[in-house]
Subunit: 444 residues, 3 copies
């Protein structure tokens, strides 16, 4: 277990509570669209006040078109001996996602082209999708494939692609300022644990934490949507707004493992989003690695496309692709450490608090130091020990020229945003510092 | 002993001479104000032509007010057995600096609140001040405290706080240009050796060295004043002038130990002040460490306050707070190595020479190389060895485009400012380089 | 042998072919001027279509004057015993280059002042020149010097300095754009192998490689000239043109040893010239070292003089002065590895291809990702393996905002210019990327 300082009260979002929510979401058949997604959002709505947006099939969004809605009634194969194989009702991964309908008999050799397995992981059922090319197929383990007898198989793929809608949901937690933090996660993978449910679970718990803060300076926007097409749809809907208001955004995914944190930087690389995470992880003292942006990965790809280039990164535990169970049936509940997942919520809350406290001040007495002693901010006795509190005060006074934010003072001084923010609030109360409003959004 | 190349002639400011001056200054009771300071400056005036400035008590300087002048007539305690304890006449540190008058009898338990000792250093008498809150107190070692018998004590603190003045002194050594180098040191600590006298001693010796130079390009300003309030007063008096003319400044303090050099950067971090010290220390080949600016420390705090933000750093040996004897009676003569202190003067002289030689040139024959051979600047025989002198010449010719100063050429080439300056002067004599006047002050 | 991936077809410029050309050029008596240079350029003209430029003696070029042409008829010494010593007909290095005529008898002690040897390398004949001061002299090994008997010596230096011309030659290989790459090498050292012939040999072979490319975007300019004065003459002739058009330039010298590559940066240090070499060497996976610019060395000194400051570096194997045989008779054929020299041609070709492919694109669908699947650029099956080809495509799409060139995308992504260029050409073909013309010359 990675050591994590405990931030939330022990009763808040306990590991047990998270696990119970996991168990409810796990069996739902999620995809880009459809009832499984809606059922998922219904359950999440118990935790945060989601506003649902349904975008009709066929809607043009930039270079893309919203696909038809996928309906799965039943799907399985009858073996030559009559056994029912690969039933989607038993495991959502059995059916290639977005399979078109098919019903008929095939010999084993013809069936083979429709079967997907992983020779390198003979016990795992792979997760396979074919969203934009009409295919049907079943997923199975390599061992299952080898054991298939010769003969005729009966195929039942009772699915439908019909005009409907793509579902996404958002909840906005307002703050004193209109600058925003985006918490983005996806709900399109069926029965995958780390690379799906860890994200929505962490985001839902984080919402409750921030909602419980006595005050928020920034506005927090939580969104649940399918990966890729969902982000493109959302940028079509909210891209201009985000360009105006987004201070920092994060793709929440793959964050349920008991391993080091991984932060993947935004395309710009040194935005407030990036600096806040790096500072928060250092402050928490947790093991972490920072990797540069790359245009492969999750929805940071869309947010960081050159036409938007928004300050969006991703804070994970480990990373997609770095654990062998990724995109297979082995990415299941056994892999998740719910206490670690709660630690992820702690880390995100620390990131948000870092952002929220990242004020900018102007020193109203900038010529030499103010006389702090008579304001009760400095020990009147010149004896050899100077508290960290005094150091923090000296740093904010020295650096606050109306351009350096608290985070940059933290980066230079080695002190924490929390220490410096406290000192600055005290100095503001004493009339020495004045708060300067600086738009946090990059495009403001 | 840290190996130091010898710079000044052996007879100049010998370790013995410095020690003799130390012995005269040691017993004086210095404070923020008062006769001890004036006596100190009287003695220093034998070494450099100090102009005294007396700033009346009550004068407003930025956020501060010049305090009243402190007069000490006598101060001691009579023990229950009649022994005279903690007599300020025997050790200046015995009396809390700026103690208000008190005369009366106290039981040991009541006296305790007025006694200051260091449990972590049971043999040391701490140095304690209470400039801005009315207190009286005595300093003693923890062992002395433990040995105090029960009973009644007679307290005599015959001091006075009266309207008078705060004393500071300056001496300006003019150069060909009005850009200035500030040498700042403080004279407010009673009987402390490294964290007080090493500074004024080094500054006084440095003045004589620079006064003996055949020519100075820059102007050198030496100031002796109390710490903090003295710097604030001086900025009120000379801040606008320094903003116009200051090329580099240094707080000279804690520079008498036989240990590595420490350079603390200015707030801006990469000013000429900072670059000159780093180059000088490398050139001297002495062990040194460079630390970033922080707003705790000595008077660089005031010079680097955001309203001034001047290019002022501090070159020390070790640093305040890094040696356990700091701010106690153990910071005494035994700690000082007078040969090392003379080495500090060498280092400061090298810094000043680096600044003085940091000219900027323009190559008048910038298209290809000039033909140096026919000017006697290049060997006419193409045989394999090219002196460092030729290398230095090639570097100044190649880099001198009217924007690169000699120091930046030194930084890039690995050659010294002295080598490059000599080559440039030769090329200037040959009519190939022209001197370009570049204001050295940051705010010019 | 340093491992080099093989680039050119095995039959192109074989090590044997290079060696044969070496053997023809070796015996010619080259100097700043004269028939040896012309004979050298005549032979090179069999490999590339050189245009000869003859610049008359006495022509003023910037701070220099083109020297008189040097003619050598015969030069030797008759020993007291009648033996003929140090005959220039046997070894070009015997006569100090540009020796003035002399005929007469000298005693050994008077002769000594005209003899040059290297006490530190007793078997080597040094290479000595006296271009701009009238001298005569002979070069010999230290062992030969020690063996000279006392007595009278007969000196014959039948040379002439006469008005004539300085010879240089160029060949321009045109491309689609007028931005240029300069390949510069010198032909003024008599019978020196690595520090002379390796350069012209590599340049000639490189010309044939680039001429064989199906298409060139950039224009490639090859020049053969004497060192120093030749570069100054060439800058007088072509400096304004190069300022307009030069994208990158390289001094080709000392590149025939079987050792690591050395790249010496241009004065600016981070130009396209510098970045292309660093990328090419990394891509090739060969051992290499990068050193900063310095104004000593070869003709990069002239191209990087402050009046021109062109993007010119030098790619070598090892470096001048780093091998003990430098500028002596031991820098001969035995030192050269012709396969390694061919590897140098490979490296230069890779550098040129890197420059040629360094296009800049603009993503025409910059809002989110384009839907690559329906354009056949992305696998329609979401199964777990994504080819490098797809990664390269994602990178060029994400980064192409009209300002990032392919090389900068390579530097950020870790992919090669070749991979990214291929992906970009495919995306351009699909109408997703548009080529943006960006002048490659620094002064454009």
């Amino acid at each position: 277990m990675i050591a994590m300082p405990q931030i939330a009260p022990a009763e808040a979002d306990s590991a047990d509570e998270i696990e119970a929510l996991f168990d409810r979401l796990w069996p739902l058949l999620r995809s880009l669209t459809g009832e499984g997604v809606r059922a998922t959002h219904d359950i999440l709505s118990e935790y945060l006040p989601l506003q649902r947006i349904e975008v009709p099939s066929g809607t043009r969004v930039f270079d893309w078109t919203v696909p038809q809605e996928w309906v799965v009634r039943e799907a399985y194969i009858l073996a030559p001996d009559g056994r029912r194989l690969f039933d989607v009702a038993e495991n959502n991964l059995r059916l290639v996602n977005y399979s078109v309908p098919f019903r008929g008999a095939l010999r084993r050799s013809d069936l083979e082209k429709h079967l997907y397995s992983r020779p390198d992981m003979p016990d795992a059922i792979p997760y396979v999708t074919s969203y934009y090319a009409p295919r049907w197929g079943f997923c199975l383990s390599e061992n299952e494939r080898r054991a298939l007898p010769e003969g005729d198989y009966e195929i039942v793929v009772d699915t439908e692609l019909k005009d409907g809608a793509l579902t996404l949901s958002e909840a906005v937690l307002p703050g004193l300022e209109t600058d925003e933090v985006l918490i983005w996660t996806y709900t399109c993978h069926p029965s995958l644990a780390n690379n799906e449910l860890s994200g929505p679970l962490a985001a839902a718990m984080l919402y409750r934490r921030l909602a419980a803060w006595p005050e928020r300076r920034l506005t927090y926007r939580f969104v649940f949507a399918p990966e890729t097409i969902g982000a493109i749809v959302y940028l079509a809907l909210r891209g201009d707004h985000l360009r105006e208001h987004l201070a920092a955004g994060y793709v929440v995914t793959c964050c349920g493992l008991d391993t080091h944190f991984t932060y993947k930087r935004s395309r710009r690389g040194k935005t407030l989003a990036d600096r806040a995470v790096v500072h928060a992880l250092k402050t928490l003292g947790v093991e972490h690695r920072v990797r540069d942006f790359s245009p492969t990965g999750s929805d940071e790809r869309q947010y960081c496309s050159p036409g938007f280039n928004l300050p969006v990164g991703s804070l994970m535990r480990g990373a997609y692709g770095d654990y062998p169970e990724y995109h297979t049936s082995l990415d299941n509940k056994a892999l998740i450490d719910f206490a670690a997942l709660r630690g992820t919520v702690d880390a995100y809350e620390t990131v948000c608090r870092t952002l929220d406290r990242n004020l900018t001040f102007e020193n109203l007495l900038p010529y030499g130091e103010p006389q702090l002693g008579r304001r009760g901010l400095y020990p009147t006795l010149g004896a050899p020990d100077q508290a960290e509190r005094v150091q923090a005060l000296m740093w904010v006074l020295n650096q606050s020229d109306g351009t350096q934010d608290v985070l940059s003072i933290a980066e230079r001084s080695g002190l924490t945003v929390d220490q410096l923010w406290s000192a600055a609030i005290a100095a503001e109360g004493a009339g020495i510092l004045r708060r300067v409003y600086v738009g946090q959004a990059m495009h403001a």
